[in-house]
Symmetry: C2
Subunit: 548 residues, 2 copies
């Protein structure tokens, strides 16, 4: 019965060895000279390869992406790109140049219109949209990479890497290639004799190259408090009283945005007045938002675990190491994979905002003419069915008396009823349904499904969606806080009063919030300069945020 097959079981290794050998005339040990990078890429990458190109929200392997777009399409073509974030023009130029053909991605915010057009024109084949860790998971299953291109701060001459605070996804995508006979190439800002610490051991790295300029780093999580509106402050007050305090939220993730920045800046003022310090918002999973500085300084945050760094926050974070996760060398270590896990499984609450929501609570940032993807939102903005431990807030979401009943993650969406004067957020049908056809997707690109949302907050009030399973009732609840959108017009004051009486909806007055109180005077810092002051000068905002 036993058949011994005659085949090599090291074909991937042999192929890798041939490729590595083919650049021996260009390299100096594991170092690729800066000016030889295009030549090296042409030899190390083969047509049809699966190539992971590091592009996080913030950190970009920009030297490598700019070099990849310069390879000869006669030599390197039909690449299958795998990128968590499509952020830079050359990421899509690769397709226009005929170097790449197919892409699997998580987020394409800055390039979302162009990518939609390229899909429609047949110049790019979209594999699928993913949440971050879903894409990382596939690197170990059906999308094992041939080549991985990453960015780090420094390398030593042995090829060990130091990523500094912007560790982000680098270790995970490197691991996928390093242990499947893929080729790992790291661009670094400098090669040094000794590293502050090792983030990725040289056993996992094949080549390093000193970039001609430091990797691009976007201060994506910086929100200037000057732009926070009174309406956002009203919504933030409702969140603090009507959700965080009500359900005793201890651990949480805040998305990017002025809504959550307003919450952060109200904790040391409004939150303090309510006597909530030490009772809510203790353990955070989020990037080092500058707008968190006053809350940290006031002693609100016990711990903050980060997906990535934030430009200008490096010294502040180092000086607050009881709160942030830092290495022996003093600088922060982030980890996108572990932070997504922590946000998924170990946080009471996720709060974010959306561009569109339908009448039942399904929401998406994918709107007509844009294929944006969603980054981490689907992962942290759903009720993790595998969660088994209980916390007060989670348990508080339990509405059934069934003997197998359990709690639920709090998933909050904050939105003003209109995106702008003519564009209601609440719609009968998500644009995502049309984008599904346009981009030839298997299913509509919904960011957060109705079944997962527990609370919707608008300038009108809060809908406690977790309290009902009835779609009709959910629609009524959302309508009651949908203002003068078409959906909101379905509802009248009497119906709203009934929902308020039943505790399904709360208006500001139900939470003891006077609309008139909601103004910018409540913000613990009103501009970037005040954030710098709170930080004792440790926060060093990028120039574009300096107005003084």
């Amino acid at each position: 019965m036993v058949i011994i097959q005659q085949r090599s079981w090291k074909q991937k290794l042999e192929q890798k060895q041939r490729r590595v050998e083919s650049v021996s005339h260009l390299v100096n040990g594991s170092i690729i000279p800066t000016e030889k990078i295009v030549d090296a890429l042409e030899l190390l990458i083969k047509p049809g390869d699966r190539v992971v190109l590091e592009g996080n929200n913030q950190k970009q392997a920009s030297f490598l992406s700019q070099s990849l777009v310069l390879v000869d399409p006669e030599k390197v073509h039909d690449l299958h790109m795998i990128m968590s974030s499509v952020s830079r023009p050359e990421h899509l130029d690769l397709f226009d140049e005929g170097i790449a053909k197919r892409i699997d991605l998580s987020y394409a915010g800055p390039q979302s219109m162009r990518i939609a057009q390229m899909i429609e024109d047949g110049r790019l084949v979209l594999g699928d949209l993913h949440t971050y860790i879903e894409l990382y998971g596939r690197l170990f299953v059906d999308l094992t990479p041939n080549v991985v291109l990453v960015a780090a701060d420094k390398a030593d001459r042995h090829g060990n890497l130091y990523t500094g605070p912007n560790t982000e996804e680098t270790p995970t995508i490197v691991e996928a290639a390093a242990f499947s006979d893929g080729i790992v190439i790291a661009q670094v800002n400098e090669i040094v004799d000794e590293l502050p610490r090792v983030d990725i051991p040289n056993s996992w790295v094949d080549f390093i190259v000193e970039a001609d300029h430091p990797y691009e780093l976007e201060p994506l999580f910086t929100r200037d408090p000057r732009h926070i509106t009174d309406i956002q402050i009203l919504q933030a007050m409702m969140c603090i009283r009507g959700i965080y305090e009500k359900h005793s939220v201890q651990s949480l993730n805040h998305g990017i945005g002025f809504n959550t920045a307003a919450i952060e800046l109200l904790l040391p003022s409004y939150g303090e007045k309510l006597g909530l310090k030490g009772k809510i918002c203790k353990n955070w999973v989020l990037n080092p938002h500058p707008t968190l500085i006053p809350a940290i300084e006031s002693g609100w945050a016990e711990s903050i675990y980060c997906f990535g760094g934030e430009l200008g926050m490096e010294k502040y974070v180092e000086a607050r190491r009881d709160v942030f996760f830092t290495g022996k060398d003093g600088s922060m270590r982030s980890n996108r994979t572990l932070a997504q896990l922590a946000g998924q499984y170990a946080a009471d609450l996720f709060i974010g905002s959306t561009l569109q929501m339908d009448a039942y609570g399904n929401s998406s940032t994918v709107t007509k003419g844009r294929v944006a993807g969603y980054g981490g939102a689907p992962n942290m903005g759903h009720n993790p069915g595998g969660r088994r431990h209980s916390t007060e807030a989670w348990y508080n979401m339990m509405t059934s008396t069934d003997e197998l009943a359990r709690g639920k993650k709090l998933v909050v969406q904050v939105a003003e009823t209109y995106q702008d004067a003519n564009t209601p957020v609440f719609v009968e049908r998500l644009d995502a349904v049309d984008v599904k056809k346009q981009a030839n997707l298997a299913v509509a690109p919904v960011m957060i499904y109705a079944e997962d949302i527990t609370h919707v907050v608008t300038e009108e009030g809060i809908a406690y969606l977790y309290k009902t399973d009835s779609p009709a009732e959910r629609r009524e609840m959302i309508a009651s806080i949908a203002g003068v959108t078409p959906l909101g017009m379905e509802h009248d004051v009497k119906q709203t009063q009934q929902l308020r009486d039943r505790g399904l909806v709360a208006l500001p007055e139900d939470l003891n919030i006077q609309r008139g109180e909601a103004n910018r005077s409540l913000l613990a810092a009103k501009n970037i300069d005040e954030l710098v002051q709170w930080s004792g000068g440790l926060y060093e905002p990028p120039a574009k945020f300096k107005s003084w």
Copy 2:
């Protein structure tokens, strides 16, 4: 408004430095002499500390656990233990000795009766049960560790670690302490001048200690084909035809057990006859099961990503590196965290078995008098709400025509209708409901919830639960394959025929399987010796599995 607080923001670091300083008379750089380990632990660990002690399914930091139980409870007490697996007697002796008080865990199979008794007697406070990555997530949120105790194969004199194939959870739990000013102590089998590769850099490690004997390693995933029964073979045939082939399952996770071992051993025989090679079961997330060897040798597996290693499989895995994930040095690298992610988000199917299932499909391995926990099953055995990419099998689970409809992960439970002559698997009410009260848990310890299960397989047939949302219909479907259990007796042949006609249930004959064909002659290997032969002598089974 700005208040400058007078406080140190490096209290954790200062505390760590004091502890490290306190052992300076015992240690040699970062090396703790073997015979000094108890003295060192007494100084490095303080009362009330959160201590992560590595205990995976397989690899155990056994020297450190045996040493910890020897510390003076006057000096070290009230510890809060965090352990993914409670496997060894001394793990619970810690509580009897008054050294530890509270525990958070994922799995306690071998100690499940004792732990239940200790909870009831008040000798141990159970924090909560978790799935693995849920527990890891909390290490970065509300359970940051003071001390982490791990096991590795080798260290060099600088403190870099080599874990070999049994990387398992070590990097994740080390990362949690290394970047929150916790103390990391690694036991190693030997200290060498040069490591085969670096799995964990010394920047993350504080102390290493050479163990007096190699860490314990359990061959937990080895199943001797001799013990596979004809009924298990029948069930395996049904799984292959009625699930894997029907839904075109490409990527999958197999749990531990004879049921899944039977499937693995039928692929090169029964699966081959059906012409399924290259069409199903290509990308695997599971440990290196010896029973997979014939399928690998026959060319069924394109890739296998592992949570951990398996004793005796080391050389075989090294020699099959196109399939397994291996490092430059040649040996495998596993990673429990990433494998759980891959299994959660990137696999079409999870298949496992259970001790109890209720009439609606809720199942648990937590039965009366046992607090077993569940390991990874809740994570891989649920429909991940954050998944956004589509595969054929996933899409195949879609039953609605709603424009936002999506697919579902396949979650299969295989069970014989009776655990033994007197114990039906199908029950009206799970024991977990009573254990909830007994162990003072917030919710009943359900392993897999009804809403997540898509298929149940017994020796009678398959219930395609994903096809209905109606609890009453689910009950009927389960009853129709529940044999002569009380639940099964609710059902009659006529009702079953109706369910078969509607495609909700399939009996073997509906799948063209003759019950008489289902016998051991179909197994590609009938015993361990034949597995060794298939492997060309590369598989080296532990002595207890050798019968020749």
